[in-house]
């Protein structure tokens, strides 16, 4: 560290826990180590704690990290950085017991435009990719990207496929896709750099509903193979 980042320079703890600035709008806390559900449970716990602090507007989990937005940016940054680092050290895992939603997926075909790229990268058949993809129960780590979108944990690394070099301008809502070691389902049409391998019908977000998002951190998704189109 060359001390350019004012937070890291002032932080009393070692920069093993990465705390960095997002302007005067927010802080980003990045948990050290490999991505895991155990770490994510501590992130959920840290989010609950941080949201009780008066200067914090929202504490929003990402994938093994936490975004903390300010109501008013604190005058003394070092104090809150110290507080966040300390809260992380004592954060005990919060085992959210959510519900499991089953999503029937048609793999490949028109709704899975990039299946061929995943086949080419992994050397597996579309049927094998569907089997591997539909095997786990995926915990929802976090919401983000767009309204109702869930970041899921637990994808089998055998079907990990790098993000696309050029993002696709529009993938439809319900698109099931793989980006690196992660998988997810688009909640509405939009641009994406991920590889779409299938599609599902589900309304993930309705602003008129309370809560507006179908799923929350701690819930789970199980994909069921409704068909594989070659």
């Amino acid at each position: 560290m060359n001390g350019r980042n004012p937070i890291l320079a002032e932080a009393p703890t070692e920069p093993m826990t990465g705390i960095s600035l997002l302007g005067t709008t927010a802080l980003l806390f990045e948990a050290p180590g490999e991505t895991s559900l155990a770490v994510q449970r501590r992130i959920w716990s840290l989010a609950r704690e941080a949201e009780t602090w008066p200067e914090v507007r929202e504490a929003v989990p990402g994938v093994n990290n936490l975004l903390v937005t300010w109501r008013e940016p604190p005058r003394r940054l070092a104090a809150i950085v110290e507080r966040l680092a300390a809260a992380w050290e004592t954060a005990s895992p919060l085992a959210l017991e959510g519900r499991t939603v089953e999503l029937p997926v048609v793999y490949g075909g028109e709704g899975g435009l990039h299946m061929a790229d995943v086949v080419a990268h992994t050397g597996l058949s579309p049927e094998a990719i569907a089997e591997i993809h539909a095997a786990p129960v995926y915990p929802v780590y976090a919401l983000g990207s767009h309204p109702g979108y869930c970041y899921l944990g637990g994808m089998d690394p055998r079907i990990a496929t790098p993000r696309r070099k050029v993002p696709v301008l529009r993938i439809p809502g319900g698109a099931v896709s793989i980006g690196g070691a992660q998988t997810g389902v688009s909640a509405s049409p939009g641009p994406s750099g991920w590889n779409t391998i299938g599609s599902t019908d589900m309304i993930f977000f309705d602003a008129a509903r309370t809560p507006p998002a179908l799923l929350q951190p701690g819930d789970s998704i199980r994909f069921r193979i409704a068909g594989v189109v070659r």
Partner: protein, 327 residues
Amino acid sequence: MIRLLACGALATVQDRGRLGALRWGVGTAGAMDAPALAAGNLLVGNADEAAGIEVQVLPLEIRFEAAAAFAVTGADCTATLDGVLVLPWTAARARAGATLRLDRPAAFRAWGARSYLCVAGGIDVPMVLGSRATQLRGAIGGLEGRALRAGDALPVGRAAEGPPPGTGLVPPAIALPRAVDGVPALRVLPAAEYDRYTTDSLAAFWGEPWRITPQSDRYGFRLAGPTLVPLRPLELRSHGIVPGVIQVPHGGQPIIQMCDAQPSGGYPKIGTVIEADLWRLAQAPIGSRIRFVETGWDEALAARDALDGWLAAARRDLSCLSPRSAA
């Protein structure tokens, strides 16, 4: 009610943004030039949370179905009410049936990229998750979650009495100018991956001007300039981001996330344009150039205070002129 008679692309209903819905994956949206919207609301006696119309492509033509006070702020444009010129950043009044038209400015060098129309009472579309701001992705807020078009009728809320017609404000572009070599200078706080770029890349980042490419909109500004090279390839886990974050995709050309940006991402972040300078960026037209200037936490807060101070002074001055100032 006001009715849109003519409307360029991508005009939307915006307020100061949807705060507190990141947990559902919902970004802030809101006016790209927040001070311009705030000033417009002050000029017509509106509450801070009132919504106005953000205009990106001129012309815009509306008819007032009922008499109303209004103000046009933000980017330079030629505003006429029934053919008579209207001063920008100034309270004005329209009779029922009057037509207001915003046209491309005649000036050779016009400032800005986004104009704002505020009407006394505010554009009274339903609140969605605490805000009237339009977010196109997910079709949330505004008028049916979409851009406005000719023929649309927009409800207007109950007006409070504002400052008298002819009352004006000095725009922040004049009150708080900031440029280096004639190019808008945006203050940037280094972000998490700042130290992961080559010395040459960092020197270029601060030292060279950046051009705003045509692939720039409310979602983000894609910049063209020197290629930024990381010391080694970076792969990050998805994490929350905010408007102003400067991401560097693998191609090495930065993207500044703006108001409609998705609330999370995975590209490396070299820095963040501070909140107090986002309006300057919002008003930088496609094809124009900007520069980045390094700043620190205390300086960034001072910049925020200066902008808040400008708004507070405007509020104070206008309240002296408003009939309800006794309150």
